[in-house]
């Protein structure tokens, strides 16, 4: 049975479609060509409405032990008054895996990537991802603080061995790409190091952060993994850290690299408070280096909880915990930290963080290389995306906020001088076409024939936050899942992963390493493909 959405204004940047009125056909879960001859079809009139592919989020902490511990630490954050959808499971449980699916879907999102999968904890991540309704998901596996890699680099191992180890890890964890978090920082923190920069050396290994970063970046590139190395730099949140971000961009040496939540690295150390906007320098570097992509990690005001695998920085941030409780946890090969925080618009630093994020969005000229994240929930929960889109699309709205925030921050920022407004085409680029392309998910983020029929329809409104908060219609794999901003079907999603080839010779030193130092055997550590659907209820798509 075919379905046709008729009369909508289609925004499909992957095909240069810029709001033209077109009919959109789909059948059996995929977009298709219009039929040659009229036949039986369901027609849905979306005249005057905005039609886009389902949105794709490349960086949102939605699963895994770190997120789950944050849930437990912060019960006051998610007390619920009533169930939102009586028909659907756990719709009364705010911040549950289930609620995550419902809320993303309401906004027209259909694919979300969990960017921090600690290999040791990968099974739990996949179990949680499998419990998120509607969305397709993927994870990025973390390396860079693991003893095996650091040892390999210390002992002069060859790049080919690093590549094999990375490929083995991606398969063992069933992930879509590779993430490095403050390369070497968590390992250094184990030996009581309290600050750690790009050229600092990890105690006991004599290996610098830069060396780890470059080895992993080369591995991802040489393995042909579509998503470039996803980098959480050193010195997150530290005044003056724009220098770290610029040095990291240089260290990428022209090869593809994705820098995550760069707002948290957009800080100069000028002015009488020693904290200033480095957005212009950072954006200029991104504009200049076309091998670099960034997501912003926008801060929006209110209570949230920061969740990060950057153990060293999270420990350092413990003093600003609000409410005053925090968790730091470590393990064999990395860990995490959870620090609740309230961003206040009258606070100089918080207000400037807000402005710096928006400045990066507005100063990076290529919407194919800058992404809309809030680093959920670090800058703000993902449910605040519509507010962010409004800020980007409406300079008068920005001006209202600039008049409300801390005046010194508003004066110190260049934001009030930036007139740019994103249009719907740029929003569609940044939220659909570009992220799908960056992840190597060629079957989504666009509306060409053959793409999955993940479609979001919005009623255009003056208030862009209202428009994007509740999609008029959302289809997932051709099935209607949202109508009038309400979930109407809770279908199951799939999890996407890559399976790069590697020399099986690596499993010999690796197996011996596991036997010697781990409490798990290598074969019990890796996820066995045939075991996953049964034991986790997960369905995987390998790319």
């Amino acid at each position: 049975m075919m379905t046709c959405l008729t009369g909508g204004r289609v925004f499909d940047p992957a095909h240069g479609v810029h709001g033209e009125v077109r009919d959109l056909w789909f059948r059996d879960g995929h977009i298709c060509e219009p039929p040659a001859a009229p036949g039986e079809a369901t027609t849905v009139d979306v005249s005057g409405k905005v039609v886009m592919a389902g949105a794709v989020d490349i960086h949102s902490h939605i699963a895994g032990g770190n997120v789950n511990t944050a849930r437990v630490l912060m019960p006051e954050q998610h007390l619920a008054e009533q169930a939102r959808y009586a028909r659907f499971p756990f719709s009364g449980a705010k911040w549950s895996a289930f609620d995550t699916g419902y809320r993303y879907a309401e906004m027209g999102f259909t694919t979300v990537v969990e960017p921090a999968v600690l290999p040791l904890n990968a099974v739990q991540v996949h179990a949680e991802l499998a419990d998120i309704p509607i969305l397709d998901t993927a994870g990025l596996a973390i390396l860079g603080n693991d003893d095996f890699l650091l040892r390999l680099l210390r002992d002069g191992g060859e790049q080919q061995q690093v590549n094999d180890y990375v490929a083995w890890t991606l398969r063992a964890t069933r992930c879509l790409g590779l993430k490095v978090i403050n390369a070497g920082g968590a390992a250094a923190f184990k030996y009581n190091t309290r600050t750690f920069s790009l050229d600092d050396v990890v105690p006991m290994y004599g290996v610098s952060s830069r060396r780890i970063l470059q080895a992993l970046q080369r591995a991802v590139t040489e393995l042909g993994v579509p998503h470039p190395l996803h980098v959480h730099c050193n010195n997150l949140g530290v005044a003056g850290n724009v220098e770290t971000a610029l040095a990291t961009i240089d260290a990428a040496d022209g090869l593809p690299m994705h820098l995550a939540h760069v707002q948290f690295y957009g800080y100069g150390d000028e002015g009488k408070r020693g904290f200033s906007s480095g957005a212009a320098r950072l954006a200029a570097a991104v504009n200049h280096h076309r091998n670099i992509t960034v997501d912003v990690g926008q801060v929006l005001f209110g209570q949230t909880v920061t969740i990060s695998g950057d153990v060293l920085r999270q420990f350092d941030a413990r003093g600003i915990a609000s409410p005053r409780k925090w968790v730091v946890w470590e393990s064999e090969d990395g860990g995490g930290g959870i620090v609740p925080f309230r961003y206040r618009h009258r606070n100089y630093v918080n207000a400037l963080q807000w402005a710096i994020g928006l400045e990066i969005f507005l100063l990076v000229d290529d919407p194919w290389r800058v992404f809309f994240t809030t680093d959920h929930p670090n800058g703000a929960p993902f449910t605040a995306y519509p507010e962010l889109f409004r800020l980007l699309m409406d300079r008068d709205y920005r001006a209202l906020w600039l008049a409300r925030i801390n005046p010194a921050a508003a004066d110190g920022a260049i934001l009030r001088h930036l007139d740019r407004e994103y249009d719907l085409y740029e929003i569609a680029t940044m939220t659909r076409a570009a992220p799908a392309r960056l992840l190597g998910l060629t079957d989504r983020g666009h509306l060409g024939p053959g793409a999955v029929a993940d479609i979001a329809v919005y009623a255009e409104q003056e208030d862009k936050a209202a428009m994007f908060r509740r999609a008029d219609l959302v289809y997932k794999d051709g099935r209607k899942v949202v109508e009038d901003g309400r979930v109407v079907a809770a279908v199951r999603g799939r999890t996407h992963a890559v399976a790069p080839e590697f020399d099986p010779g690596i499993t010999s030193p690796l197996g011996a390493y596991f036997d010697r130092y781990h409490l798990q055997r290598m074969d019990n550590f890796g996820l066995q493909p045939e075991w996953l659907p049964q034991a986790l209820g997960a369905e995987f798509v390998l790319h």
Binding site: V72, L73, D147, N192, E330, L519, P533
Partner: protein, 424 residues
């Protein structure tokens, strides 16, 4: 949303398939240590658990030797469908069903949570909601593997070696650690009869003094003025903790041996926070096994809260004291007890409340419950997923031998489907 769960046939075929597969590196689901190096003997009837782990040997033996039990209603054997029909009818009519036991794997926990939400019940693990003790202040923790590789001083609060027989071999006295470090010094806070194992230093502190001792130790470490006569051993221990490079404080809530483990845990968390001002230190809180950590974690991503949660208002409400299963049962608030327990054959407590037992085929039932559905034991009769006691790593449980018993996750899903139909 319907989760596709394996059918009974699939479970059996998985068992057949892996029964012919490798019979080493078998994960053990019977305590929080999460060993995965066990072997299945030639006759496929016994599992070798390494040096002297009676707990594993007993767990595997009990499951492998369990008779093919049949479902029963009020003690009378019935086909599975009939047992499920009776169970669903009791669940549909219950005002406040209580889901307890929960000594199972992830699939059983998922099924239990879905059923509890649909029927408006209370969910609590038989060990209670003891892992949520961090809500008041947070803590700094590490994992079993990190403690094994890096700790230079391990302080065991209570003698965990009784509960985790292979703890010395796996974590405490391993001989081969990262960077060729020597084994850690082990100090045990315990006054139990067999606490003084050879080569282990013991400070005799009983459950009654534990909270007080820990507060004294914490004050000593922080350099606060304190009565010099209080626990002289605490002064020396504080010095050693401060002098160590990476001291790790290991405990399970059970080992704290007190009715108020929260108080001790908070004291230990504060102690470790203080040590981290200048150096490094960590807690290693471990679940006591029987699916405790999996129940806690799965509950958290389903409801946002750990166990000790009720769904009777349609949204999850969490209060570990209010929704403690033993309190709810003792006060007569529940009108149906659903006891889910495949990793332990222990029977539910005697109660006048009608009881459904979905559990181990060898469950020692003194009195026939309203409904008994014997289930496959995860890690023995079917595959499964279980957290290691530190909550970081998860074990891929194997199917070692076909049992003909149904999969607990599937049974719970079918019950869910039945009550969804009845209440629709």
């Amino acid at each position: 949303m319907n989760r596709e769960l394996p059918t009974r046939e699939a479970t059996e075929s998985a068992a057949r398939e892996s029964a012919t597969g490798p019979s080493t590196a078998i994960p053990c689901p019977f305590c929080g240590l999460g060993c995965d190096d066990l072997s299945l003997a030639e006759d496929a009837a016994t599992v070798t658990a390494g040096a002297g782990c009676e707990r594993a040997a007993q767990g595997f033996r009990q499951a492998l030797e369990a008779p093919l039990a049949e479902p029963a209603v009020a003690g009378r054997p019935v086909p599975l469908e009939q047992a499920l029909e009776r169970a669903a009818s009791l669940l549909s009519r219950a005002r406040l069903p209580l889901f307890a036991g929960l000594a199972g794997d992830l699939e059983e926990m998922r099924g239990t949570l879905a059923l509890a939400e649909a029927s408006g019940g209370v969910v609590d693990h038989r060990h209670g909601a003891r892992l949520g003790g961090i809500q008041s202040g947070g803590w700094i923790t590490t994992s079993l593997g990190d403690a094994r590789n890096r700790a230079d001083l391990l302080l065991l609060v209570g003698d965990l070696r009784r509960r985790m027989p292979r703890l010395p071999e796996r974590v405490l006295e391993v001989g081969d650690r990262l960077h060729a470090r020597p084994d850690a010094t082990v100090v045990v806070l315990d006054d139990g009869p067999d606490a003084g194992a050879a080569g282990v230093e013991r400070i005799p502190v009983g459950p009654a003094q534990l909270a007080d001792f820990v507060q004294t130790l914490r004050a000593r470490v922080a350099g606060r003025p304190i009565d010099a006569d209080r626990y002289p051993a605490a002064a020396a221990l504080a010095e050693r903790l401060r002098g160590a490079n990476f001291p790790v404080v290991v405990f399970t809530p059970d080992c704290l041996g007190t009715r108020h483990p929260d108080l001790v845990m908070r004291g230990l968390a504060g102690l470790v926070r203080t040590l981290n001002q200048q150096g490094r230190a960590a807690l290693l809180p471990l679940g006591d096994g029987e699916g405790e950590v999996t129940a806690h974690q799965a509950s958290a991503w389903h409801s946002g809260f750990g166990v000790g949660t009720t769904y009777h208002e349609g949204v999850p409400r969490h209060d570990p004291l209010l929704w403690s299963w033993s309190r709810v049962l003792a006060h007569g608030e529940a009108d149906l007890l659903v006891w889910v327990s495949t990793l332990s054959a222990e029977a539910p407590p005697a109660t006048r409340v009608p009881t459904l037992v979905l559990g181990h085929p060898a469950t020692r039932l003194e009195r026939a419950p309203e409904v008994f559905v014997p289930l496959a034991v995860p890690g023995v009769h079917r595959r499964g997923v279980l957290h290691r006691g530190d909550g970081v790593a998860l074990l891929p449980l194997r199917a070692l031998r076909a049992s003909g018993l149904p999969h607990g996750g599937e049974v719970l899903r079918r019950l869910h489907a039945r009550i969804a139909k009845e209440t629709a």
